[in-house]
Amino acid sequence: MKPTSETELAEMIRAADGPLCIQGAGTRGLSCDGDVLDTTGLSGVTLYDPGALTLVAGAGTTLTEVEDLLAKEGQRLAFEPRRLNALMGTSGETTLGGIVATNSAGPARIALGNCADHLLGVRFVNGAGEIVKNGGRVMKNVTGYDLVKLLAGSHGTLGVLTELSLKVLPQPETEATLAITGQTSAEAQKMMALALGSPFEVTGAVHIPGGDTLLRIEGFEDSVVYRTGKLSELTGAEVSLQGEASRARWADLRDLTMFSGGDADIWRLRLKPSDGPDAMARLQPGKALMDMAGGEIWLEHQAGDNLRSQLKGLNCDAQQIRGQGAERFQPQSPALAKLQSGLRAQFDPRGILNAGLMG
């Protein structure tokens, strides 16, 4: 099924007599049982107002199309959505709907928030085939409940997103990367916390075990020079990359290209940054990336093994990104699980949208 309009989609959902598997370009490998519902026909930018910092586009619009359009005006999606093609070994162009449904965000999330923080409005079709809108296209909106936030990251289990309205931001004039080599994860975590606890507006802090610890600074040229100098004094890290070279490095980190290939499973942990080194010590992963100053760890793990048993007692969410054989999402407390299944039953009374995907 490949609807080309919201009304057509609504009819298809109303007519469906079994589970539906909602797919954008399928780059994230999140499939489930049911007839495939392809959203790529719901595409196109419907409004772009650079002076109001907003963009509205169909959920099937590719990220590349949006980013190219924004670049022409010197703007960008500041939450740095990730493309997972390299990590998942998938081809195809990531869609905006896929980004929003997974609430994807890259290293900038530590300073600028996730996709939900930049999502201003949604239109979606719920499991009963009703077309619903929430939010709008303005920066501040508290009119009624914030279903926008709820839909972000709902992995298609509450509705099929059709149109998204996003806040965009100016592209900084330039950027630079500071690096330090050979730190332990504990040293790196302390250093990153120091940098983030400074007034110098770090917009990326990652550590690659066995490699570098990197900090990113963005802004006007003189300001970047000034702040990298200050951070260098504070942390001992040295400027290693500037301008385009720095941008290219962070694009690789954002898209997690270091995890391309291999047979291992890939997991993503979210936890308090100061718990990062403990998690690393327990898991001893072959390959890992500590993003978010240590608060978001991407790592390789033995195929088929549920690593959650090794993280007992740590306050941590583990999500399996690549691989099979474990519950993909972190199990919820009974109270939260009850609220979530209650909400799902309201949005999708027949339980046909990406059934079972989020537990």
Partner: protein, 485 residues
């Protein structure tokens, strides 16, 4: 504005309900003396008043839970209350309701600079959170003008914003987790001590801004940030509102993102100047633009802003020259509502529009003001298009309030028409409740009502707010529609 008839069955049980609350909560004030209840009969939207049945002021999450369990068993409506500064009537009681207030939940629980969060009980005031971490160079970013008085509880319920939200985001962007008690007394932990904690559906984002209708929030974990090295406001005066609006959109368009861009027109400037002696220029429209960073960073950004402003022939371009002056400039701005209130009765609106529509909307408001014969003063967060037109009226003149409300509704409809919304930070409450149909189709509203069905199936929590009463009538009377099974 109408409120539902109080439920006579609940009123009949009043004595028993109060007695049960007192018995279950021996250490906790349960107020039922009519004189003492006066203090709770309204919030900052003082046009509407009604004393509740009683007020409970719990001192712990457990006490909130115990109180809610009793109210749930007795099927008594509950109105959560923070500091009572809502401008939308969010904390307005009904005669059959029990107010549960967080005033005694005022502990700071944990400060963690390594992971940059602070955990508080929600009765603490917004400003005191920054107060708690300021000595160590940190601050809590959302800064509603009411920050000296309003509680974190109300901030979360309303998803409050403030002048500096242009850069730092509103409450929802700075909230990491909450402890919430649901109407049946069950305590849930949502989110945690780091962004997106807990995985699963984004319930935290749903709770924030739900206007006290999904649960009572007793504890919150908030993101704290290191303060910038310095900050400086500049005042840019213009001969017309429209030109000031054009300047705002040019600044945004140019890729400079100041921390704040605030707007005031002449009536507000004069009122605020009388109040704060900030040295505001006497112009038709004033922008206060603030930038942050080191001395050099500040100068550089201000020079870029100056270049843009000069293209619009400003009547005045004046940088603050000292921290005292900066403080006075902000004091004046943040006191705008109070200062205006000393001069005139007014109704404060809160619609948001796309920034690029500012010049048009300001012009239309000016025209409508003439048609209605009521003056408007404007003071608002221009950088994110969040307008606060204050419609001036005379409360003692028969018919003036009604005329003012009609004018207000027209302005909000205009905001929706140009792609904006009814409320950017104050919330719907009772004030904008009956305008919701202008922004949302019935199916959009129904989707929201179904969310409340999950958290509060009996529709007891603050239920007469946010949605037009006709949409909620059956639910409030306890008859869930079959679709919600």
């Amino acid at each position: 504005m109408q409120m539902p008839q109080p439920d006579a069955r609940v009123l009949d049980r009043k004595d028993r309900i109060i007695a049960r609350l007192r018995a279950a909560l021996p250490d906790c004030p349960v107020i039922s003396d009519p004189r003492e209840l006066h203090a709770y009969e309204c919030d900052a939207l003082t046009a509407y008043r009604c004393p509740p049945m009683c007020v409970v002021l719990p001192g712990s999450t457990e006490e909130v839970s115990a109180a809610l369990r009793i109210c749930h068993e007795e099927q008594a409506p509950v109105v959560p209350r923070g500091a009572g500064t809502s401008l939308a009537g969010g904390a307005l009681p009904t005669a059959d309701s029990v107010i549960i207030g967080v005033a005694r939940l005022n502990q700071f629980l944990e400060t963690d600079y390594t992971n940059r969060f602070i955990r508080v009980q929600t009765g603490v005031t917004n400003l005191s959170v920054t107060g708690q971490v300021q000595e160590d160079g940190f601050f809590y970013a959302p800064d509603p003008s009411s920050q000296l008085a309003c509680a974190i509880a109300g901030n979360i319920a309303m998803n409050s914003g403030g002048a500096h939200c242009l850069k730092y985001g509103v409450t929802t962007n700075n909230l990491l987790g909450v402890t919430m008690v649901m109407m049946d007394g069950e305590v849930v932990e949502i989110g945690g001590e780091y962004p997106d904690a807990g995985g699963g559906l984004n319930l935290l984002g749903l709770i924030c801004g739900s206007e006290g209708q999904l649960g009572i929030v007793t504890e919150a974990t908030l993101r704290i940030l290191h303060a910038p090295e310095g900050a400086r406001p500049v005042m840019i005066g213009f001969d017309s509102n429209e030109v000031a609006g054009e300047c705002v959109s040019d600044i945004i368009r140019a890729g400079i993102l100041p921390v704040a861009i605030e707007f005031m027109d002449r009536p507000c400037i004069r009122a605020c100047e009388a109040f704060a002696k900030a040295g505001y220029p006497d112009v038709e429209a004033l922008l206060i633009v603030e930038v942050e960073g080191s001395e050099d960073e500040i100068s550089h950004q201000l020079s870029l802003i100056k270049d843009i402003a000069m293209k619009h022939n400003p009547a005045e371009f004046r940088e603050s020259t000292s921290s005292e002056e900066s403080a006075a400039i902000w004091l004046g701005r943040k006191s705008a509502f109070g200062a205006m209130g000393q001069i005139n009765d007014y109704m404060c609106l809160d619609g948001t529009i796309p920034v690029s529509e500012l010049p048009y909307v300001l012009r239309r408001i000016g025209e409508m003001s003439k048609d209605y014969g009521l003056d408007v003063a404007n003071v608002f967060h221009a950088g994110d298009g969040n307008m606060h037109p204050l419609i001036l009226f005379d409360a003692n003149k028969p018919g003036d309030l009604e005329l003012c409300e009609e004018f207000g509704a027209d302005i909000l409809k205009l905001c929706v028409e140009v792609g904006g919304c009814l409320t950017g930070e104050h919330g719907v409450g009772v004030e904008k409740r009956d305008l919701m149909d202008h922004q949302y189709a019935p199916v959009d509203i129904e989707a929201q009502l179904r969310v409340k069905d999950v958290f509060d199936p009996a529709w007891l929590l603050n239920s007469a707010k946010v949605f037009p009463l006709t949409h909620t009538e059956n639910r409030r009377k306890g008859a869930l529609p079959p679709s919600a099974s």
